[in-house]
């Protein structure tokens, strides 16, 4: 089972956090910090797996991560998941984001947190892998966007928007 999915930048600023087990807000923030410390001190080109921090259950859990430019993508999983499988899942996630945002960068994640959540929701649900086929995922996301577009004309004009 996937316990948590975290994205933060090279300075530890969270860009997405999704927990599939319940923790208090405080603990969630501590977990993000702890995970950042564990992951960021590692060299490039070492292996992509390490034992989880104490807060998230210690060596019961593995952290599986990839580092892309300014962002770390970290999945915290228990022993029932295949390490390489999750590593590929991160890749699929990133490739999907890349397709949806056209050359995704950190700013896209900042300004479209909701979208990132929706895309992730098409891949992982309740801590389990829902869909791994990128075309399927993108079809779903496209369908959502169409629905959204069809509703936009109802919205107010952006001028009064603040």
């Amino acid at each position: 089972m996937i316990k948590a999915i975290l994205i933060f930048n090279n300075h530890g600023k969270p860009r997405l956090s999704k927990f599939y087990e319940h923790y208090t807000e405080d603990t969630e923030q501590q977990i993000i910090r702890e995970t950042f410390h564990l992951v960021s001190k590692r060299d490039e080109n070492v292996c992509n797996f390490l034992e989880g921090g104490i807060l998230i259950g210690g060596s019961d859990n593995k952290l599986i991560y990839r580092h892309y430019a300014t962002l770390y993508f970290v999945f915290c999983v228990d022993s029932s998941e295949s390490e390489l499988g999750i590593l590929d899942l991160i890749q699929v996630f990133v490739e999907t984001l890349d397709k949806c945002f056209e050359n995704v960068c950190e700013l896209d994640l900042i300004f479209h947190v909701d979208k990132v959540h929706y895309i992730l929701g098409e891949m992982v649900m309740g801590g389990m892998v829902l869909e791994t086929n990128m075309n399927e995922i993108i079809t779903q996301v496209d369908a959502q966007n169409k629905l959204e577009k069809s509703e936009t004309f109802i919205f107010q004009s952006p001028r009064q928007d603040r």
Partner: protein, 950 residues
């Protein structure tokens, strides 16, 4: 066209985020956030009804603020309102807010459930998916109560869309995880298994996850999934890479599904049906063959996906542990990976090989890679990988390579990361002991350990070396010589001083013939360290000194001088002062004979489980800090322990309360039923002292039989599961009371036969019958008892018990006697149950969950959900769990109303670690009990025994 165009979105949100990002300081950021929160709050509270767009915008802002780590304590109601919107975007953002921000015990759950219910029955697949996602992500009990029946229906309904089926499968899985008692098994189970044949591979993947989890709990219900899974796997493995179109990932056919199917198969033993078994073997061979083919792509994704399947296949081969050729092939494959340039593969290969090392078929094959593994230990840059190399070396160690492996681990220890030193120390100590052919090597190794990593050598390790030296007289002289030499170093670790003090105190005489290590030299050497040591070590040294007085009368004067000094006699530490005063006095007034008796060499320790092995079991995992409770216990053991041999005459109270040095408990001393090394004369003195205060003593008063007890049921067996004393049986003539005590795998039971009549029982005789297999699992020996029981009197009989291996049944006690003219026959089950051989194990939350994870194979877990038979009182439950024999662990379970326990079952042949968890549900008056042990029979038996108690 990109799926998300950058121009759209909400301007107000973008401006807010930009403001935050432009904040120069944390204070400025907080100020801006508070301003925004106030703004949103007033908007929500305001009279003007907000349109959907504004609501959506504000909720987005709240989400962003939450991500930055600020509490959000409002907006929930608005989010719930969004759920019932007809507009997709509003509904979607509402659900997002709920999934991210609402925790499982919110008051709003009922309102949310209402909205979910509407969406589930809307027949709009998009809305249904949103609702199912929400249930799965929140996963609360109330949601399970509301939807546990509905979700399976959606899952197996014929007209459900594929994407909804996928979500429904995972949603059900989540509900089953969080509230298994609420998810009813039923006719849907068979139909779920058939989803493995579904056309849509996404549905199959989700269904496989679901079935894997369900099969772990109810393997029998899902047995049919094995053949379907094998068939599906076979089709994937043999398909051309283009057959599966979108599910082909970088030229690998459906890697995730393959991994899931292989996991599912690991819930079961190898298929019995020869055809299915053959097909599976074929699949596994094909996967192994593919690994040797040239890669179809140079991309790392290709090799990752391919190897993900390969590693899972190897796990299955190891799990089945039945096909020697496959096992050896798997081992060779892993051997190749050990030298792969990808660090990830080296890491995984080391990890998998660890499991392979324990199979008899492949142990030798694994050993051939020893040089590579040692090399990994020396050259890997990544500590995670080195850690796996240590694990593997430990796993592959046997008598043939122990010296090499121990030497390598010792040299690694000099540069090892601090976080894993303690674990390596324990592993070295265990291997050195387990595979020691000559004990001089063992002593050298442990002293090296202390030299290299003294700070990481725990009490257990040096206790153990002393146990072994005392029990083996062939190594005592060598040990004395070696510690003497080691102590010459100008700076030596305090642990070395402890070992040195103890060993020279016992065996210094063996090297005293050499003028270079004459008694005075030895004493001066030890005493030169005295002032640098902590109080417990000083206390131990004082005991060594008094032992010297006995061994070497010629240094008596010197030592008395030291004991007499102000710094000893007026020491601020009460323990040190007391020792100094008593030892001085003892050396002055006692005759040589008495001194020789009191200070005689320590008797051999009874053979017992290695304390360090237990420690490693408890403490696997880096950087655990022992809690204060534990370290305090160790300290006091240490302080009192030193007096064990002298205090018999000087201070009986200290002796009785003394915690055991080296784990030799006072109770086991008084229990003469620990035969391997019968304590010689000197310790009989101890026995008397101990038995005075020891509740375990044989001379204990006959038990007080509760005469006012209500009519006793015929079979009181289950009453004794959680306690050791009480009335076992009663009729008009006879009452049978029990008092029992257990230690490790041994037990002793006192049976009291009370004659309730005024007439003598004649020809009184008893016997114990162990039916069937029980005779080989449990040795029960009755001591002979008198053939008569006077009227109104009580007869005591001793039963000695030894647990050889784990067992299910209980022995039967047959009693025969003549009362008046008639022969009476009574048969009673003796309440000797497996849990009696528990030793409680304290552990931290981290250790607990690690152990818990390690015992995750389906047959290792047994779970039972049952109705409470008695009132659900927390204190009573606690007492029962402790009475059951395990340590009750506080603060381990995140839910404080749950109970968590841990212990080790000791049998003569093996030891079985056991973890348990009891979750009461006071509303439903139900309990859920989960047991995990390394043996399925043990899990089952313990579960049956304990679940009967509540």
């Amino acid at each position: 066209m990109p799926a998300v165009s950058k121009g759209d979105g909400m301007r107000g949100l973008a401006v807010f985020i930009s403001d935050i990002r432009n904040c120069k300081s944390k204070e400025a950021e907080i100020k801006r956030i508070n301003k925004e929160l106030a703004n949103i709050r007033s908007k929500f509270k305001g009279d003007k009804a907000l349109d959907g767009y504004s609501k959506k915008k504000y909720v987005c802002k709240l989400l962003f603020i939450f991500l930055l780590g600020h509490d959000i304590d409002f907006g929930h109601m608005e989010a719930v309102n969004l759920l019932s919107s007809n507009k997709y975007t509003e509904k979607q953002i509402g659900y997002l807010f709920i999934s991210v921000l609402v925790n499982s015990n919110s008051d709003l759950i009922r309102l949310i459930n209402n909205a979910i219910k509407n969406d589930l029955s809307s027949r709009n697949p998009t809305f249904m998916n949103l609702a199912l996602h929400c249930i799965a992500n929140v996963g609360s009990r109330e949601m399970a109560e509301a939807f546990a029946a509905e979700v399976p229906r959606i899952l197996v309904a014929g007209d459900t869309m594929d994407s909804v089926k996928q979500s429904a499968a995972l949603c059900l899985l989540r509900l089953n995880r969080t509230s298994p008692d609420l998810v009813p098994m039923g006719e849907w189970t068979a139909r779920v298994v058939h989803l493995l044949n579904d056309q849509h591979l996404g549905v199959v993947t989700a269904a496989t996850s679901l079935i894997t989890t369900l099969a772990q709990k109810n393997p029998d219900d899902f047995k049919t999934s094995v053949s379907l899974a094998v068939a599906r796997l076979s089709r994937i493995v043999t398909s051309a890479s283009t057959d599966l179109q979108d599910y082909t990932y970088y030229f690998v056919a459906a890697p995730w599904l393959s991994v899931k199917l292989l996991r599912l198969l690991q819930c079961y033993p190898p298929p019995e049906d020869a055809a299915i078994r053959g097909r599976l073997t074929e699949c596994l061979e094909t996967i192994l063959n593919k690994a040797q083919e040239p890669p179809k792509s140079k991309k790392v994704q290709h090799s990752n996906a391919k190897n993900a399947v390969l590693f899972e296949a190897i796990s299955l081969i190891i799990h089945h542990d039945s096909e020697p050729t496959l096992l050896v092939r798997a081992c060779n494959q892993l051997g190749q990976f050990l030298q792969h340039r990808e660090t990830n593969l080296r890491y995984l290969a080391l990890e998998s090989m660890c499991m392979l090392a324990s199979s008899e078929f492949s142990h030798e094959a694994v050993k051939t890679h020893i040089e590579t593994v040692i090399n990994a230990l020396k050259t890997e840059r990544d500590v995670s990988v080195r850690q796996r190399a240590v694990d593997l070396l430990y796993a592959m160690c046997d008598r043939s390579n122990a010296k090499q492996i121990v030497a390598e681990m010792l040299s690694y220890l000099e540069t090892a990361d601090y976080s894993i030193r303690e674990e390596i120390v324990l592993k070295v100590a265990i291997l050195a002991e387990k595979y020691a052919v000559d004990y001089t090597w063992y002593v050298d190794t442990i002293l090296n350990l202390i030299r290299i990593a003294g700070d990481y050598v725990s009490e257990e390790v040096w206790y153990r070396v002393i146990q072994i030296v005392i029990n083996r007289d062939d190594v005592q002289g060598y040990a004395a010589k070696t510690v003497f030499e080691a102590l010459q170093a100008p700076a030596c670790h305090e642990n070395l001083v402890k070992v040195g003090g103890y060993i020279l105190g016992e065996f210094g005489n063996l090297i005293a013939g050499d003028p270079r290590s004459s008694p005075l030299v030895q004493f001066n050497l030890l005493h030169s360290k005295f002032h640098l040591c902590s109080v417990p070590t000083r206390a131990l040294l004082l005991s060594a000194y008094i032992k010297f007085i006995n061994l070497f009368p010629e240094v008596k004067g010197t030592i008395q001088e030291v004991l007499r000094s102000d710094s000893q006699q007026r020491n601020a530490d009460v323990e040190l002062q007391q020792r100094a005063v008593e030892y001085l006095r003892l050396s002055c007034i006692a005759s040589t004979d008495i001194l020789a008796t009191v200070l005689e060499e320590m008797p051999p320790f009874p053979e017992r489980e290695s304390s360090i092995l237990a420690k490693l079991k408890r403490k696997k995992g880096p950087g655990t800090v022992p809690d204060i409770e534990e370290s305090r216990k160790e300290r006091s053991a240490n302080v009192n322990g030193g007096t064990n041999h002298t205090s018999a005459t000087s201070n009986a109270k200290v002796a009785a309360s003394s915690t055991d040095l080296l784990g030799l408990g006072s109770a086991s001393t008084s229990l003469s039923s620990t035969p391997p090394a019968a304590p010689p004369a000197a310790s009989s003195l101890l026995v008397d002292v101990f038995s005075e205060n020891s509740p375990a003593a044989a001379a204990a008063a006959p038990i007080a039989v509760p005469t006012t007890a209500a009519p006793v049921a015929d079979d009181n067996f289950s009453r004794f599961v959680c306690k050791n004393n009480g009335v076992l049986y009663e009729n008009q003539l006879l009452q049978i009371g029990l008092k029992s005590e257990y230690r490790q795998n041994l037990g002793r039971m006192y049976v009291f036969y009370g004659n309730k009549t005024s007439t003598q029982f004649l020809n009184f005789g008893t016997s114990v019958v162990c039916q069937d297999g029980l005779a080989s699992q449990l040795n029960v020996h009755l001591k002979p008892a008198d053939p008569t029981v006077d009227g109104g009197a009580q007869l005591q009989q001793i039963v000695n018990i030894e647990c050889v291996s784990d067992f299910m049944e209980a022995p039967v006690l047959n009693i025969q006697f003549r009362y008046g003219g008639t022969l009476q026959n009574i048969a009673v089950k003796l309440p000797i149950t497996l849990n009696k051989f528990f030793q409680p194990t304290e552990m931290t939350s981290q250790d607990f969950f690690q152990r818990w994870k390690q015992l995750s194979a389906p047959q290792q877990e047994v779970q039972k959900i049952f109705k409470a038979k008695h009132s659900m009182d927390t204190e009573v439950t606690k007492a029962k769990i402790i009475g059951f024999g395990v340590a009750l662990l506080d603060g381990v379970d995140p839910n404080p109303s749950n109970f968590v326990g841990a212990g080790v079952i000791h049998t003569k042949t093996t030891q079985v670690g056991c973890l348990l968890r009891l979750e009461p549900n006071t509303q439903a008056q139900m309990y859920r009990l989960t047991l995990r042990t390394s043996r399925d029979t043990v899990s089952q038996r313990l579960c049956d025994l304990l679940s009967d108690q509540f």
